[in-house]
């Protein structure tokens, strides 16, 4: 039985450490905020220019001047600070963010990531994804294990245009978790969703990875 979006997010949340500064992408990554362990100090960065993102506002308390990188209304915390997008990406590119959780279209077994463009389809732009993978200390990707037609998304090499080369440290899908010790090492299978067999995983994955 594949993990749900929430279960994937909860597994990504296991990457969090006390005192971390974290950037969460749009989609499943945003859900990770719901699984920050109680009592753990984690500061969420929004790349448009904010540290210390609070939860979504109560109805009637939305502030048009206070949005996250997904353009959603959010709230501030006592410790929040605002800054320009240039300063924000200085923070990101300069290696000051501990962890980024991002979605993906494809992940290569070499750690390459593709998540912004499908040739022939309308291109919306990369936003801040290329800066995040280039600058953040640790990059965790969350995605569905296969595309809708059943083809593998964790593959020997990405076929879609890249977002970054050799940038993924951990991959969490609805079927399994893969990780690597550092960016010179291959991925290793860490864990599988309940009911997923090693054989099934192999048939749904074209990337090579080490056994658990």
């Amino acid at each position: 039985m594949a993990w749900s979006r929430d279960e994937i997010a909860a597994r990504a949340a296991a990457e969090l450490r006390d005192g971390y500064y974290v950037n969460l992408g749009i989609g499943i990554p945003t859900l990770v905020a719901n699984f920050i362990p109680a009592g753990m100090r984690v500061v969420l960065q929004s790349e448009n220019g904010m540290l210390g993102m609070g939860p979504f506002p109560f109805e009637g308390e939305e502030d048009p001047d206070l949005i996250n990188a997904g353009k959603q209304t959010i709230t501030e915390l006592p410790s929040s600070s605002y800054f320009s997008s240039a300063d924000s990406f200085g923070m990101i590119r300069g290696g000051h963010i501990d962890l980024s959780v991002l979605g993906a279209m494809e992940v290569g077994e070499n750690g390459d990531l593709a998540n912004w463009m499908v040739p022939g389809k309308v291109v919306k732009g990369m936003g801040g994804a290329m800066d995040l993978v280039a600058g953040v200390k640790r990059v965790v990707v969350v995605m569905e294990h296969c595309s809708r037609d059943g083809s593998a998304k964790f593959k020997p090499r990405c076929e879609l245009p890249l977002t970054g080369t050799n940038v993924v440290d951990k991959l969490i899908t609805d079927l399994a978790i893969f990780s690597r010790a550092d960016r010179h090492s291959p991925f290793q299978l860490l864990e599988m969703a309940p009911g997923v067999s090693l054989d099934e995983l192999r048939t749904r994955t074209t990337a090579r990875y080490l056994p658990p």
């Binding site: 001047d65 209304t73 240039a86 990406f89 200085g90 309308v122 290329m130 890249l162």
Partner: protein, 243 residues
């Protein structure tokens, strides 16, 4: 109640753009999504009838609001942006070849604008190395790390929006409406600012000013602000009860 006056203060958005706006110029437009956009100046830009604009803006507005209004009237020839997903008319014009588009990673775009305003011809960033973004650009490898050369950007005109401004052009932004506005204010040959409230010098604390007045040549108090929300997201209030 009369507004503060001064040599930089203009009565209307139209008058603040007069003499600066010409066909085929490059315009930087502050804001992220619909947050912190110069809404009155965008309307005035549309109403000026100017054509062939190159617009530097992180996003392209929505169909009926922000830069989307200038797309609808086909006044924009080229966009330099990082993400334009919110706009159907944009998609149509782009696919039909009417609109030229240059994508920059968001941080690279922000830094190119800062560099342009700060007299930096170019800089080396890791962002985009090994991707389409780096194609055709100079790259250098230092200790195994690849760096891409990106160039500073300047504009003929920058339009920015702030929360408060004084007659000297000093600006204070509010919350995440700051975004691209401070760098764009530095990178316009002429920068026109609109503010929700225009005040006299001395009403803004010198330590709290985000954009010093030197960067702002013209300023208006916007007559009204829609401050439209693009993606209203809320959470449930906890059930009322005896606490």
């Amino acid at each position: 109640m009369s507004l503060p006056t001064g040599p930089k203060v203009y009565a209307t958005a139209a008058s603040a753009l007069a003499g600066v706006v010409r066909d085929n110029i490059t315009v930087m437009s502050g804001g992220f999504g619909l947050c912190g956009i110069a809404e009155n100046l965008i309307v005035a830009l549309r109403d000026s009838g100017v054509k062939g604009l190159t617009v530097v803006s992180n996003n392209a507005g929505v169909d009926e609001y922000g830069l989307g209004m200038l797309l609808k009237t086909r006044q924009i020839r080229k966009m330099i942006s990082s993400y334009v997903g919110e706009n159907k008319e944009f998609e149509r014009q782009y696919l039909s070849g009417e609109l030229e588009l240059e994508f920059n990673p968001q941080g690279t775009l922000a830094e190119r604008i800062r560099a342009g305003g700060a007299g930096i011809w170019g800089f080396y960033t890791r962002t985009g190395a090994g991707t389409l973004v780096a194609e055709g650009k100079e790259q250098r490898v230092v200790d195994g790390e690849t760096w891409v050369l990106e160039k500073g950007l300047v504009a003929d005109l920058s339009i920015v929006k702030a929360w408060r401004g004084d007659t000297e052009g000093n600006l204070i932004y509010r919350k995440t409406a700051r975004n691209f506005n401070p760098m764009m204010a530095t990178a316009g040959r002429v920068t026109v600012a609109e503010v929700e409230k225009l005040v006299e010098p001395g009403e803004l604390a010198p330590d709290q000013i985000h954009t010093p007045g030197i960067f702002v040549q013209r300023i208006i108090q916007g007559p009204a602000y829609r401050r439209q929300i693009e993606n209203r997201t809320i959470r449930k209030r906890p059930a009322a009860g005896v606490s």
